[in-house]
């Protein structure tokens, strides 16, 4: 198990390094000179030169990368031009908000997906199955931020049940404020989860050991929750990891819709104010977060499935 874990971590390191190169190179995509792009048309030549020097843009590209990596390693993530504070001081709080949102949407997705998949699998090819599948096909075809806006119109503007924006203070307040954004994110998430869980459940329901469990006299519910659901959840664990990375991507737009002060809305703010260094740092944070999630699912998987642990 330890060797397996070390192996997975070992594979991740070179990829993480390449990701930093890729993100470092993003700045080269800026048409013209990034320094004059930021300072605007009225900047003096001296101030442009000073900023270029400060960023190391007047040095060879490999030195620029070395400088970038040294800054990363020492936690010097640059200054947010828009908020006039060091990026590293804003980062922990923002990460916390986005983390809360992602976990919240994961919990909601499971709460939505598991009952729906159970009903769909047990009523296979009858109307509840069709209705659930149609309902869960919709988020795959529609823009998530638009679904968020529909929820916002219904639940906060018309019914006035939930706050429309922000994060709130305290845990209960967070739960309330983030309910609609988390629900929006979880709709697409639950859709994929439930589709796969349904087919996985159908596979398990037709195996002989389920017949055996029934034959030894276990009641329907005990078979369903004790054996079928447990076995059917297995293939889903990996899927959760993959889908979480989609949810992270989706959170950028959803946070903007609901003005949630997390990493995503910060990234959009920074893009609009041409705060290139912040955009780079946040892209890196999203990438590292995704890699950590994938690593975690790979490490968790053997706990659910002893076969992987032995092999």
């Amino acid at each position: 198990m330890l060797r397996y874990a070390m192996g997975r971590i070992g594979q991740m390191v070179p990829i993480a390094l390449c990701v930093t190169v890729l993100i470092f190179l993003l700045i080269k995509l800026v048409p013209g000179d990034p320094a004059s792009a930021i300072l605007g048309d009225h900047a003096t030549e001296a101030s442009v030169r000073a900023l270029r020097h400060q960023w190391g843009l007047d040095r060879p590209i490999w030195q620029q990368y070395a400088l970038y990596m040294r800054n990363l390693a020492t936690g010097n993530l640059g200054q947010s031009l828009r908020y006039q504070t060091p990026v590293s001081s804003m980062l922990p709080r923002r990460i916390g908000v986005t983390f809360f949102l992602i976990i919240y949407s994961l919990v909601l997705s499971v709460l939505i997906a598991v009952p729906m998949a159970l009903v769909a699998a047990l009523c296979r090819n009858r109307w509840p199955d069709y209705a659930i599948r149609a309902f869960l096909a919709l988020p795959l075809a529609s823009p998530p931020f638009w679904i968020g806006i529909l929820l916002l119109i219904v639940f906060s503007l018309k019914l006035r049940l939930l706050p429309a924006e922000g994060y709130g203070d305290g845990f209960g307040d967070h739960l309330q404020h983030l309910f609609l954004p988390a629900l929006t994110l979880s709709y697409a998430f639950a859709s994929v989860l439930s589709r796969n869980l349904r087919s996985s459940l159908i596979d398990v329901l037709t195996t002989t050991y389920v017949d055996f469990a029934r034959a030894k006299g276990l009641r329907g519910r005990a078979v369903l929750f004790g054996h079928v659901l447990r076995a059917a959840m297995l293939p889903i664990v990996t899927l959760v990891g993959v889908r979480l990375s989609y949810a992270i991507g989706g959170s950028v737009v959803i946070e903007t819709v609901f003005a949630v002060p997390g990493l995503g809305s910060w990234m959009v703010d920074s893009i609009l104010s041409r705060d290139y260094a912040v955009v780079q740092t946040l892209t890196l944070m999203f990438a590292l977060g995704t890699m950590l999630i994938n690593l975690t699912t790979d490490l968790i998987y053997p706990l659910f499935d002893p076969r992987v642990r032995v092999g």
Partner: protein, 289 residues
């Protein structure tokens, strides 16, 4: 028709199986009709609604849906129906244009990686891993952030990220295909590597990638709309759906129709492509058996 399609899994004998094979899945028919309606409306938009989609009428701002404006007007008094219809042209154009490069480049790269093996395969697949490590939406947004907004840059950003899906799909197929006897025979004939890959293996390995095209169009349209919503996509005053939803976001309380109607159009297009794609996948699977 759906009754026939359902007959397939039952052990109903050869006749039932053959009938199921001949029947067109209902999804592909419905999706196809929806696509026809959509493309027809897009092409005929200048005839159906000859008004300029950007024409402002400051006397008719934020009007409720009525006979004159079936979907109301926005904050500049522009007719929402006209804009949504012209917007279909923009969003569908992006959807179709953006998948050409990823499909071609990704398929050829994936096929080459799978066939060549060794360090070339390792190199290409590590590049794929690196791009996969960053969430799709985040990377596309980041690239557009540095390139600047606009339709061309949206196409470039999606092209730079989307090819990895096709590379993965095709590589997997080629890995299975390359050990078959006909490839060994071609090699014995002395055909060049690229000729074997492009003329012989790729046609047999491309089916999953072709099937994925429909889902990819949906992914691309939704991504382009998201970029438009964030103000990073097509520039205003173009009637792009995501951009229109963003413009309506400010007036949700007074004029819900400005933000909601373009989303329904987007959903209509999405469902159409998904139905056609799923239907195609079923057809190919049946034929493969």
């Amino acid at each position: 028709m759906s009754a026939q399609a359902q007959a397939a899994p039952q052990p109903g004998g050869l006749v039932a199986a053959r009938r199921a094979r001949l029947a067109l899945p209902i999804g592909i028919v419905v999706g196809g009709i929806m696509l026809l309606v959509l493309t027809g409306a897009t092409l005929l938009a200048p005839v159906l609604l000859p008004a300029d989609p950007n024409a402002q009428d400051l006397n008719a701002m934020l009007q409720r849906p009525s006979l004159a404006h079936p979907f109301g007007t926005d904050n500049y008094g522009r007719d929402v129906l006209t804009r949504v219809l012209y917007g279909a042209g923009i969003d569908l154009r992006i959807g179709v244009l953006a998948i050409i490069f990823p499909f071609v480049f990704g398929s050829v790269t994936g096929a080459f990686a799978g066939y060549a093996g060794g360090w070339a395969d390792a190199l290409i697949m590590r590049a794929v891993d690196v791009v996969t490590a960053i969430p799709f939406t985040v990377l596309v947004i980041a690239i557009v952030a540095f390139l600047g907004p606009g339709e061309t840059n949206v196409l470039i950003a999606i092209g730079a990220v989307d090819w990895i899906i096709f590379a993965r799909l095709v590589r997997g197929e080629v890995l299975r295909e390359k050990n078959l006897e006909y490839v060994a025979a071609l090699r014995a004939f002395g055909f060049s590597r690229w000729r074997i890959i492009l003329r012989h293996i790729l046609p047999n390995a491309i089916a999953p990638a072709v099937t994925f095209l429909a889902s990819d169009i949906v992914l691309v349209i939704l991504t382009a709309a998201a970029l438009g919503y964030l103000g990073l996509g097509v520039r205003p005053p173009a009637p792009e759906w995501g951009l229109m939803i963003a413009e309506g976001r400010t007036f949700l309380y007074t004029a819900w129709w400005v933000a909601t109607v373009p989303g329904f159009a987007c959903m209509f297009a999405g469902i159409a492509f998904i139905l056609v794609g799923d239907g195609l996948a079923d057809l190919l699977r049946v034929r493969g058996q």
